[in-house]
């Protein structure tokens, strides 16, 4: 029997071949051209936006006063290379799949950067698999001298995938070391828990005031590209190019918004989540007074929501840190009135034992903590032991005190 016949019986998955009546060359659809380099060629579309261009609530220039300190504040760590917008690039890729792995290809990279009084966007396209080396080469040319890479989920997805591609093309030596600011992880600090999703789309709708028109859903992009490969009909890619533009412009204004949050004072913000996030950020940088004002504001705004307990715990820890013991006690008592919190009982027990020397109250708090641990079972065994140890010590102390008072 013919091998083909036998294969047909095994492998009956058949993906339809696209047929088009009229192929539109890319150049006809998009304002771009072919670029050549020593490794071949690829296609690039360059567009330019005036800095006053409005994208949702913000315009692109709102970002311009970004200063290095503000970024370190938001990321919560000192950046290896401070952010200077003129040495930074916004990067977003389009790929043949959502998984990682050596068979997922990056076929488009959008790069956005500020130059003079405009924001320039270069979108490189690999028109077929054989253009991958020249496409990657071109990307590396563009990244020369770039100090900061700004991405949305690029830390987990785009950049590792590009590195896989560089490895496959044996170009890893030429990849520059850059600081990566990943806006998704910043956004999560503020809005996880409040928004059901921190996807760029959700942020556009809920935070940035931007609505996409005629956008191609991300999930359809790989197949659209495969269809293009088969037909070479440039029209199929039009949506992907504009999708990529939206992504990058939204990243710019998202950074603006985050930056404005970073500069804000406690009175200026009315969202409890944002106040809470800022409080935590300030606390991390040891700005206790600022942290306190943001957290107290957050507490005030949170009402009875589930967020309130989280804020209270954070506040309790802050009060402890700055030695406001009365306030700490009050807020911890409020926490345990709402929730069976092991760590809060532990704090209370410590407070009563060491600060207030109120051994009976300490014993009570430790007992409550222990009983919760025992209910939780195996997973809380270590903490249960700590409580037992503490209780034993409290007993000894109480006994001593009783003997002392008896003797006196």
């Amino acid at each position: 029997m013919e091998l083909k016949e036998r294969l047909a019986r095994i492998e009956d998955m058949n993906r339809p071949t696209q047929v088009v009546d009229r192929k539109s060359p890319l150049e006809e659809i998009l304002p771009g051209q072919e670029v050549k380099n020593p490794l071949g060629s690829c296609f690039v579309v360059t567009s330019s936006f005036p800095v006053g261009y409005k994208h949702g609530f913000y315009s692109l220039q709102d970002i311009s006063p970004v200063c290095p300190q503000a970024m370190s504040f938001l990321t919560g760590k000192e950046l290896q290379k401070p952010l200077h917008l003129h040495h930074a690039v916004f990067l977003d890729t389009e790929t043949t799949g959502l998984g990682s792995g050596a068979g997922t290809y990056v076929f488009m990279v959008g790069l956005g950067f500020f130059a003079g009084h405009s924001f320039t966007l270069k979108q490189y396209l690999m028109r077929d698999y054989d253009e991958e080396p020249s496409f990657l080469y071109q990307l590396l040319q563009e990244l020369k001298g770039v100090e900061t890479l700004i991405t949305f989920n690029g830390r987990a997805f785009d950049w590792p995938l590009l590195n896989t591609r560089f490895t496959m093309a044996r170009m890893t030596q030429a990849v520059p070391k850059m600081e990566n600011i990943d806006l998704l992880s910043l956004a999560r600090k503020f809005w996880r828990g409040w928004l059901t999703s921190c996807s760029l789309n959700s942020l556009e709708n809920n935070i940035l005031g931007f609505k996409r028109a005629n956008d191609i859903p991300g999930a359809e992009i790989p197949q659209r590209y495969f269809d293009y490969l088969q037909t070479k009909d440039g029209k199929l890619l039009e949506d992907i190019f504009s999708h990529n533009v939206f992504d990058i412009l939204s990243m710019v204004v998202l950074l603006s918004h985050l930056y404005s949050l970073g500069r804000a004072e406690a009175g200026e913000i009315i969202c409890p989540w944002e106040n809470f996030a800022l409080g935590k950020l300030h606390e991390a940088r040891n700005n206790y007074e600022k942290a306190r004002s943001f957290l107290e504001k957050a507490y005030m705004l949170a009402g009875k929501s589930s967020l309130a307990t989280k804020i209270m715990k954070q506040l309790g820890a802050l009060y402890k840190r700055i030695g406001e013991w009365e306030k700490a006690e009050k807020i911890w008592l409020a926490v345990v009135a709402k929730e069976e919190s092991v760590s809060t009982f532990e704090e209370l027990a410590k407070l009563y034992e060491h600060r207030k020397k109120d051994l009976e109250s300490a014993k009570y708090a430790a007992r409550r903590g222990l009983s919760i641990c025992l209910q939780k079972g195996y997973s809380a065994m270590d903490r249960a032991e700590d409580f037992e140890y503490r209780l034993a010590r409290l007993e000894r102390k109480l006994k001593k005190r009783r003997t002392a008072s008896f003797n006196s």
């Binding site: 029997m1 091998l3 083909k4 036998r6 294969l7 047909a8 019986r9 095994i10 492998e11 998955m13 058949n14 993906r15 339809p16 071949t17 043949t96 799949g97 959502l98 998984g99 990682s100 792995g101 050596a102 068979g103 290809y105 077929d128 698999y129 054989d130 590195n163 896989t164 490895t167 496959m168 890893t172 790989p222 197949q223 495969f226 490969l229 088969q230």
Partner: protein, 755 residues
């Protein structure tokens, strides 16, 4: 000393004595030693000295020498012959000489991998601690994975993880692949059948990746005794192999006893349960102070044995705790504890499932009792090998069950002792399996014109996948053009990509296994008892459209067997041989099957204890088959029922005896008897492979046709039943009242002369 006592007791005890079919004294073997090779690093020599190893066995020395000479090797090692040194020494030696060197160890199961890492870590600590060894499997936490990729000198994993976790992400493992000098494949013999055929392809993919990164690792395999270690190793790895099978480790004398439980019902062919007999023997052994391991066939049996033995020992005042269970699923720490207690003599008896057969090292004991024939000569020797400590006398007993295969072995001890064990068979070019891995390979690296992968013309397959828009050819290369992640759809443990999953609903719903579509109706119809890791599951519901079966853990004393309405069409004859008295052939067939009813069959007695209907659509499968037929002229005038009964009886025997040659389970092949086959026009017995595309059993059966029939006849003659029973031709309901005579007649006819 105490073994001697047991032997005397066996002499005296008439009840036991009469069941002993045969005993052999396997002679003592002197160790053969060589000095530690000069080329080893001084640090390694120093460590060996510290461990009181001042010489190595001859096979270890040979292994070291061959690897040093750059050869790929298979070391055939019986139990407790120091196989790990055969690979650990060369690997550690290379790493000591060059820190960058990397090695990849493959073990068939996670438990084995973890054992090995524990040993390697001890070695590494003694060498200064900088040689990092890690297991990489499904349980490895995400945060450790990165350091394993970057810094693991030795990465220990299993083929499944290599297939789905490492190769598709090879760029992240660049450091490993660029510096890979050794691939160690332990327990080579377990890579057979469908699993082995998959693994061979995974290794083909591994070679491609290594080539991309410019490395060419040496391959070190170890295997239990099989008939074809070299050939199997070559087929699996695609490399020429040096076989090292002269065992240099010493071995004390060993008494090997073949024990057949007495017949309790001759007509039904029922013998006393092998489990009860094994208990009896174990009691004698342990009472006499012989540290003993009892191998049970299932987890259930293990539990029964432990309970029983503990009860006995509690009664006579000794502590029942001296009996321990030992089975798969124990944590390394628990195993270490049992090993230690065994060494210190705190444990007198261990009851184990086959977990131990797979090289997990608890050292050796003085007695071994095998409950039932383990299914292959190779694993029988592995289990027997557990008895034999130092140079003193040890004892091993094989207790037969009533199954035809057990009865053949127990009645033909010379066959067992003289035959070289079975061949491990794989078919890496099974199209179903091959095409799955070609997809994975294309995902990992584009195929280049002129490349080779497997025995079929690769370009034709690539062109086919291109037509189907799964690949795209640009210039001279084929690229992956799909969002799919092909490795995700392929399980190495089954043949087709189209699998049914089995979900255990006992506690939290979790997937416990999968079976291919064709087997689904046989194995996981509603009411079926599905066995997984020696546990029994009752299939409560089969959702055919969703390809899901819902199961619940149970403990019952029966198994289920589905009756299939089968139609078979021969598509292609690969080889045939016509003789006067018999025709035989093998080739490709299409089997259409529909399960109709199932029977509940009691363990041991094979009694039918119930049945149920199965309502499922017909399934088709292309596979390989071997068949034999009796020329029509020789059956003229014979009654049709007689022929039917003769064919059925012979077919049942063939199915049960075929594993003697194939190193497979009886369930891996299926039989079909046709009084007048549409294809041959003659009374025909087909043996077809259960996996789509086949793994090579048919060809092997065709080759050993004569021997196979002789063995079948032997079993039939040896069976003590008068007219046929489940231990030979099968139950009377199937083959009628004269099943034995009819089958004998048929065998006489086909073997008449020349055979």
């Amino acid at each position: 000393m105490s073994v001697q006592k047991v032997l005397e007791e066996l002499e005296k005890n008439k009840g036991l004595q009469s069941n002993i079919i045969a005993r052999f004294r396997l002679p003592q073997r002197k160790g053969s030693y060589e000095s530690i090779p000069d080329f080893l690093d001084e640090r390694l020599k120093g460590l060996l000295k510290k461990k009181n190893i001042d010489r190595v066995y001859s096979h270890q020395a040979q292994a070291l020498e061959m690897v040093q000479a750059g050869r790929d090797i298979v070391v055939v090692t019986p139990t407790a012959s120091g196989k790990t040194l055969c690979y650990n020494l060369p690997v550690l030696n290379s790493i000591l000489k060059n820190q960058e060197v990397r090695a990849l160890y493959l073990f068939p199961t996670k438990a084995l991998a973890q054992d090995q890492v524990a040993e390697l870590i001890r070695w590494s600590e003694d060498l200064g601690g900088w040689i990092k060894t890690y297991t990489y499997d499904g349980d490895t936490p995400a945060e450790v994975r990165r350091s394993i990729r970057m810094a693991g000198s030795i990465v220990v994993t299993n083929p499944d993880m290599l297939h789905s976790g490492i190769l598709p992400h090879h760029t992240k493992w660049m450091r490993l692949f660029e510096n890979l000098e050794y691939v160690v494949i332990d327990e080579l013999h377990t890579y057979r059948g469908v699993f082995g055929s998959h693994v061979a392809n995974v290794l083909r993919r591994l070679h491609r990746i290594c080539e991309f990164y410019g490395s060419q690792p040496r391959i070190i395999c170890t295997s239990a005794t099989i008939a074809n270690p070299g050939q199997h190793g070559e087929k699996l790895t695609g490399r020429d192999m040096v076989v090292i099978d002269e065992n240099g480790s010493p071995q004390g004398p060993r008494e090997l006893i073949f024990y057949n439980p007495p017949v309790v019902n001759a007509a039904l062919g029922i013998r006393r349960s092998s489990l009860l007999e094994a208990q009896k023997l174990a009691k004698e052994f342990i009472k006499a102070g012989v540290q003993t391991i009892v191998f049970a066939r299932s987890r259930l049996q293990t539990e029964i044995l432990i309970t029983y033995l503990r009860r006995i020992f509690n009664k006579v005042g000794q502590e029942g705790e001296k009996i321990r269970g030992y089975r798969g699923g124990y944590l390394p720490r628990q195993r270490r504890e049992i090993e230690r207690d065994l060494r210190q003599g705190k444990i007198k008896g261990v009851v184990s499932t086959n977990a131990l057969e797979l090289g997990i090292d608890i050292g050796t004991l003085s007695g071994a009792i095998l409950t039932g024939y383990p299914g292959t000569i190779a694993s029988t020797w592995q289990q027997v090998g557990r008895a034999g400590r130092g140079s003193s006398l040890s004892i091993a007993v094989i207790v037969a069950s009533s199954s035809p295969l057990d009865q053949f072995i127990i009645n033909n001890p010379s066959y067992f002792l003289e035959r070289a064990t079975e061949s491990a068979l794989i078919n890496p070019d099974n199209l179903v399996i091959l095409i799955s891995h070609i997809k994975c390979a294309a995902f990992e690296l584009p195929f280049q014109e002129g490349e080779e992968f497997g025995a079929h013309p690769l370009e034709e397959i690539l062109e086919y996948l291109t037509e189907k828009n799964i690949l795209r050819k640009v210039q001279d290369r084929w690229f992956w053009m799909s969002e799919q992640y092909p490795a995700d759809d392929i399980s190495l443990r089954s043949a087709s990509a189209d699998n049914f999953v089995i979900i255990d609903k006992t506690k939290n719903a979790r997937v416990i296994g999968e079976v291919d579509r064709f087997s689904a109706q046989m194995l996981i119809h509603e009411g079926a008892i599905y066995i997984h890791e020696s546990k029994q599951y009752h299939i409560d519901r089969l959702d055919y459209d969703q390809e899901k079966a819902y199961a619940r853990e149970v403990e019952v004393d029966y198994y289920t067997d589905a009756n299939m309405a089968v139609d078979l069409k021969v598509l292609d004859v690969f080889a045939s041989d016509k003789r006067e008295q018999v025709n035989r052939a093998y080739g490709e067939v299409m089997v259409a099957a529909r399960a109709t009813v199932y029977k509940k069959i009691k363990f041991y007695s094979h009694e039918n204890v119930g049945w149920g209907d199965i309502n499922l659509p017909q399934e088709e499968m292309h596979t390989l088959a071997y068949w034999l037929s009796l020329p029509a002229c020789r059956v003229q005038g014979k009654d049709k029922d007689l022929i039917q009964s003769a064919l059925m009886g012979t077919a049942n025997l063939l199915q049960n005896i075929a594993p003697l040659e194939l190193m497979c389970d009886p369930g891996d092949i299926r039989v079909l008897a046709q009084v007048k086959s549409p294809f041959t026009g003659e009374p025909t017995i087909y043996l077809y492979e259960r996996y789509p595309g086949g793994v090579g059993f048919s060809e092997k059966l065709f080759d050993c046709h004569d021997r196979l029939l002789q063995q079948v006849k032997q079993v039939l003659r040896d069976c003590s039943c008068p007219r046929g029973c489940p231990s030979c031709v099968g139950p009377m309901e199937e083959v009628g009242e004269k099943g034995k005579d009819n089958a004998l007649w048929f065998l006489q006819e086909v073997m008449d002369s020349g055979a």
